[in-house]
């Protein structure tokens, strides 16, 4: 097992302690025949005490969806992640933390995850990790846990409660087909591969979420990190969370919830009731917009130029305001950075409207 000192340490979580806990839980889950298993950070009673009356505005940066291959196989994706790290390190002042949005590896290979971990070590600010389907479905999260700890956790920061979910749980489609681990991974890796199941958060994780949120008042601003969008956009590309309604129901009582999600590799904005959804950019490549199901609030980014491998890609920042809602900054490489402001989603798209694209995808 890799020495713990190489792994990303996060400010708010003692990973070693939870690893001990999770191993026991893993054992229990396997023994009871439940699988694919997931273990969660045990709910810390002390956390419930932190319901915030006041939020101190803060900034964090994000890097997401790097889809790394080993350097000798694909230099381009590695270069892009290195550029994102350089970007984030050059921010002045430095953000409170850097959030990694999932899909660090492309095919879940141990070497790919290790390469990613090594590159992210160069980030000056503390890093928080989230898992994506490309990281998970080769070994069902074994290497991920070894490098980054538990995929599902929460913490408080400056009056906001933040939760990281594993929202790429898929119903078993591989056992009946007699697929190998690699075949399963290749199936999930294809965005338009219809054999895989839709993403979901799952019953057990929803139960965990309810318990985790139990100690917080409705006033507490929430930020939920999720790889899949936590709403239903386009099933054929798994821009979809199957139990989105149930998850949204758990979040319904809170006055302001912000969901920051990955997977979609594009500028995406949505609002459902009290929940404001913002997508993260990918460093590796941009996806086109779905032919149907697009949220009204989304003003699409211009269709990327294939000649420029960085066009449509980038990293970004999230500026958390005093009420817990956010300005979402898309730092599109080689383009003017674009901000989807707090006022835009707060006003249901009436104010602070971002500029329209002059090149739509079609």
């Amino acid at each position: 097992m890799e020495s713990n000192s190489k792994n990303i340490e996060t400010k708010y979580m003692d990973r070693r302690a939870f690893l001990k806990v999770s191993t026991a839980a893993m054992g229990a889950a396997v023994a009871s025949g439940l699988g694919p298993f997931q273990t969660f950070q045990t709910v810390n009673v002390a956390q419930g005490a932190g319901s915030s009356d006041k939020v101190t505005p803060f900034r964090f940066a994000y890097i997401s969806d790097s889809h790394l291959y080993e350097k000798k196989i694909n230099d381009r994706f590695v270069r892009a992640l290195l550029r994102a790290v350089a970007d984030v390190n050059s921010l002045e002042p430095q953000p409170d933390f850097v959030f990694y949005g999932g899909d660090l590896a492309q095919l879940g290979q141990p070497k790919e995850l290790e390469l990613g971990a090594e590159i992210l070590k160069e980030v000056k600010a503390p890093v928080k990790m989230m898992v994506g389907e490309h990281d998970w479905y080769l070994d069902m999260g074994e290497k991920w846990r070894e490098l980054f700890g538990e995929p599902v956790y929460s913490w408080d920061h400056k009056g906001v409660h933040l939760v990281t979910l594993n929202s790429v749980v898929e119903r078993d489609f591989w056992t009946a087909r007699g697929m190998t681990a690699m075949e399963r991974m290749m199936t999930v890796a294809g965005l338009d591969n219809g054999v895989q199941s839709p993403f979901s958060v799952g019953e057990r994780q929803r139960a965990w979420l309810e318990k985790d949120l139990a100690g917080y008042s409705d006033d507490t601003p929430l930020i939920v990190f999720s790889h899949s969008p936590l709403y239903k956009l386009y099933k054929k590309w798994n821009f979809w969370t199957d139990d989105a309604e149930e998850v949204q129901a758990i979040l319904k009582r809170f006055k302001r919830v912000v969901v920051i999600h990955g997977h979609t590799h594009q500028l995406l904005t949505n609002r459902i009731g009290n929940i404001h959804f913002h997508g993260m950019l990918s460093t590796a490549w941009p996806w086109p917009y779905a032919p149907e199901g697009m949220p009204e609030l989304t003003i699409e980014m211009s269709r990327p130029d294939p000649f420029n491998a960085n066009d449509g890609c980038g990293d970004g920042e999230v500026h958390v305001q005093a009420d817990g809602l956010v300005d979402k900054v898309y730092n599109l490489w080689n383009r003017t950075p674009l901000t989807v402001g707090r006022a835009y989603t707060a006003s249901w798209g009436k104010e602070s409207v971002p500029p329209k694209p002059n090149r739509a995808s079609y």
């Binding site: 230099d75 350089a86 970007d87 000649f307 491998a309 080689n334």
Partner: protein, 439 residues
């Protein structure tokens, strides 16, 4: 409109590569071999205005200036002529007179032709240009050859038209140093010849705007596209060497040159009229720091003139297009230069720091210089030495026949230098063994 044959990108002509790389020397016009040292010089290293004028007579055929040159698409050519400055022989003659007139400079030593010298590729073949009082600027002088099809002028696109551009160097403190346009007018308005010329050309008294118009009209006649490559496209299979042909194929494919340097019948120049950060500045600048400085300076004095000054006389010159648009994405971006006659317009890049075309290829081969604003189209190309030679051979075939001697001279000089040193070469980067941004 000429029927130009575009070579299919699928054509794989494998002709044995000739050991002797040669640019075709067809003495079409003057057979007298003029050696560079024979040319009489004046201030700032330029050839004398008389000599340049004589050369120009020799080089430029007498044509009807109101018609599109035969090598251009006439619909496209016409679209670039502004309505208030249609081409007439009088305007061109006036512009030519002004182009060579040193009286337009504060100390009478600099004319347009000082830095855009007929004998030196219509540029000055210096890294950065020298103006009045021997002051050095920050930018390499682009050539005035074939500028009529440029959509945006100056390396940072400060000028939308040739008319506008011609007026800027005259009042720039480093270049020609006149305090304002009126001073330039005062310098020549007493001259009866000018009075008559302006009357004939524009029906007006001597004025600064018309100075810009006339110079622009003259520049529009500087059409030099009759190169070996053009002949090749027109159907002469032997016009360029096999190596250059290979280079043309690489230009379209592995070299990825075509995307920023497109060449087609409507736009034969080899520039996309866009701005790209290819990393040349990054070799010696701290961009983020400079960008913050620039924003502050411009808040204090947002005039166009201040911008012109800053562009040429301070470190902020390295920020390029950003100085005009203030877009973060334009930091360090400069306009793609045109490639016609590139062989005779060294040194290269916006600051003239890249000396030979082999160095240019080394720069692109390794994917430019990594910096936070690098254009994502810059990728390491993994070109072999042979492929680099082919592309360079192709680039030298883009020079008009009338400059064939100068082209040959440049080719030999650059090749000799490239054989001795290749400061920008980095095979590890070129072949993707080491990656940009990697520590």
């Amino acid at each position: 409109m000429n029927i130009i044959r575009i070579i299919s990108i699928y054509r794989f002509v494998r002709v044995p590569i000739v050991a002797l790389v040669a640019v075709v020397l067809l003495p079409l016009f003057n057979t007298k071999a003029v050696v560079a040292e024979d040319i009489p010089k004046t201030d700032h290293g330029a050839a004398t205005m008389e000599y340049q004028n004589k050369e120009l007579d020799r080089l430029l055929p007498s044509v009807d200036v109101s018609k599109a040159p035969s090598s251009f698409d006439d619909v496209v050519w016409k679209a670039f002529i502004p309505e208030d400055n249609s081409m007439t022989a009088e305007r061109v003659a006036l512009g030519r007179k002004l182009y060579f007139d040193k009286r337009l400079s504060a100390d009478g030593t600099v004319s347009c032709a000082t830095c855009h010298d007929v004998t030196r590729g219509f540029t000055d073949q210096l890294a950065v240009s020298e103006g009045i009082k021997d002051q050095l600027g920050r930018r390499n002088a682009p050539t005035t050859l074939n500028v009529t099809l440029l959509q945006i002028v100056f390396l940072d696109g400060r000028s939308p038209t040739l008319e506008h551009q011609a007026k800027q160097p005259i009042i720039n403190p480093i270049e020609m140093g006149m305090p304002d346009g009126q001073a330039a007018v005062d310098a020549i308005k007493g001259d009866a010849e000018y009075q008559a010329a302006f009357k004939k050309a524009y029906g007006r008294k001597v004025n600064y705007d018309d100075i810009g118009r006339a110079i622009a009209a003259f520049e529009r006649t500087l059409v030099f596209v009759d190169s070996p490559f053009r002949r090749f496209l027109d159907g002469d299979e032997d016009a360029i060497s096999a190596e250059a042909e290979e280079g043309w194929e690489l230009y379209n494919e592995k070299g990825r040159c075509m995307t920023c340097h497109p060449m087609n019948p409507s736009n034969p120049l080899g520039t996309d009229n866009r701005f790209h950060n290819v990393g040349v500045s990054a070799r010696h600048q701290d961009f983020e720091g400079l960008a913050k400085q620039a924003l502050k300076a411009m808040e204090e004095d947002p005039s166009e003139r201040k911008l012109d000054e800053l562009a040429l006389s301070t470190d902020m010159s390295e920020l390029g297009r950003f100085m005009v648009t203030k877009n973060r994405s334009d930091i360090g971006a400069f306009r793609t230069p045109l490639l016609l006659n590139i062989g005779i317009t060294p040194p290269y890049m916006h600051d003239g720091t890249v000396e030979t075309l082999w160095d240019v290829m080394d720069h692109y081969n390794k994917g430019g210089e990594a910096n936070l604003f690098l254009d994502g189209g810059m990728e390491p190309l993994a070109l072999t030495e042979e492929e680099i030679n082919s592309i360079v051979a192709f680039l030298f075939s883009l020079t008009d026949f009338r400059f064939a001697e100068e082209n040959q001279r440049q080719f030999e000089r650059q090749r000799a230098q490239a054989k001795k040193k290749r400061p920008l070469r980095d095979d590890d980067m070129a072949f993707r063994l080491k990656l940009a941004f990697e520590k």
